[in-house]
Amino acid sequence: MKNIKYYARPSSVKDALALLLDRKYKALALAGGTLVAKTLPDSVETYLDLKDLPLKGIKLQGGNLVIGAGATFDEIDRDRLCRGWAGGIVSAAAAKCSSQLIRNMATIGGNVARPHSFNIFPVVLLGLDARVRVQAKGGSRLLGLEELYAAAPLLRPGSNCLITEIVIPAATKKWKCEFVKLAKTDSSWESYVTLFFAAERRGKALSRARVAVGALSPRPFRAPRGGEGPAGRRGPRQGLRGRPRRRARRGLRLRGVGQPARPLRGRYLR
């Protein structure tokens, strides 16, 4: 931060984006700042503070759950809508992030924009098919998490565009989900693995099962074969503990660039 010359706290997304794109300022956007404040590159000359932007609301829009990018983990943890969505998985995941002091500061937008491998929300949002509204020079557009990360060289949230909201589709509202964070301690922000599992229950059978994994690679990824295990099988009476979860584990055979060659089962998920 030693080269910072300007501090800006705009009150509209339009002003914030204009400043971000103005080459004179060499700006970087910070929301909570927990991931970035200590590691600002020397090339940054303007600290663009997003906390006055009207991006904190959590609302239902067209049946979808829309979370403003400026909502903190603590606000998401305590929000009634988030607690009632997909078995409360969004709130439960927020509560697993680091410590209360970090949860008071860190925002969901920042967590998605800086996809550190340990970050919690990218995994959960990937599993819930969430989309991210990005405000860039050409206007606003909705992108899936995978699209956002694939567009990384061109779209760099906080540097040349802003994430304004996260849209979680209405179809996921009744999903049964589970989020597991395996770490040294509960409040440790570094995790060995974060695992999201969700399925829709129709009658006695599970459908649309899906698994998303984080912390094992620089970006979270979906494991389609992990979802094949429990899909179509008989679901449990309550929650997703027991057989479907074991089947999902069995199906977690991940191969590909940056992914473990051997099955995860037995290595991380005991």
């Binding site: 931060m1 030693k2 080269n3 910072i4 010359k5 300007y6 501090y7 800006a8 706290r9 705009p10 009150s11 002003d15 204009a18 400043l19 910070l30 700042g33 927990t34 404040a37 200590k38 303007t46 600290y47 503070d49 906390k51 603590d74 509560a95 680091s98 410590s99 209360q100 002091l101 970090i102 008071n104 500061m105 509960d186 409040s187």
Partner: protein, 171 residues
């Protein structure tokens, strides 16, 4: 737009911030964090522990929320309202939380206590009668190397009862 931008003068930002109820004009270095700025200006009750956001000893209340002073750039406090441990009470007239910590024997070496008390205050301001689980959750970012957690949780419970006008339990 221009009015929203602060510019450094000789490497310093001039900020206005309300500290413990008093409006102050402070000169903070560019790249300086709130913890260092507060200590440099004399509020030394805010402790410097890990300086990486892990220990919570630098906790202050900024605009009603307990935050880590070591992770908040000092300039970001511009226009804000700040409470440090010095703003809570004095030796002669302690805050009920400070009293409860002493009475419960929750203070050992004392280094983590300013942060613990400010995290507790932020909790009690939001939820005057918290459950034990809520207290533990609110304090999960404040580490105590003396491991006095049981007494600290008890102290917050006692303070909550006292602030709510209930009967105090001796620690």
């Amino acid at each position: 737009m221009k009015k929203d931008i602060l510019e450094t003068k000789k490497g310093n930002f001039e900020i206005t911030v309300t500290v413990n109820g008093e409006l102050k004009e402070l000169s903070v270095k560019n790249g300086e964090f709130l913890l260092d700025a507060l200590r440099r200006h004399g509020w030394k009750g805010t402790k410097k522990g890990c300086d990486t956001g892990d220990c919570g000893s630098c906790t202050v209340i900024l605009n009603g929320r307990a935050v880590l002073g070591c992770l908040v750039p000092a300039v970001a406090a511009h226009g804000g309202e700040l409470t440090t441990i010095e703003g809570l009470g004095t030796v002669r007239d302690p805050h009920p939380l400070q009293e409860a910590f002493v009475e419960a024997g929750a203070v050992q070496c004392g280094f983590c206590i300013p942060g613990m008390i400010l995290s507790s205050k932020a909790l009690l301001d939001r939820a005057p009668r918290p459950t034990e689980a809520e207290i533990r959750k609110a304090l999960d970012g404040n580490l105590c190397r003396c491991t006095g957690y049981v007494k600290q949780v008890e102290a917050v419970k006692n303070a909550s009862a006292r602030l709510a006008g209930g009967k105090r339990k001796r620690g």
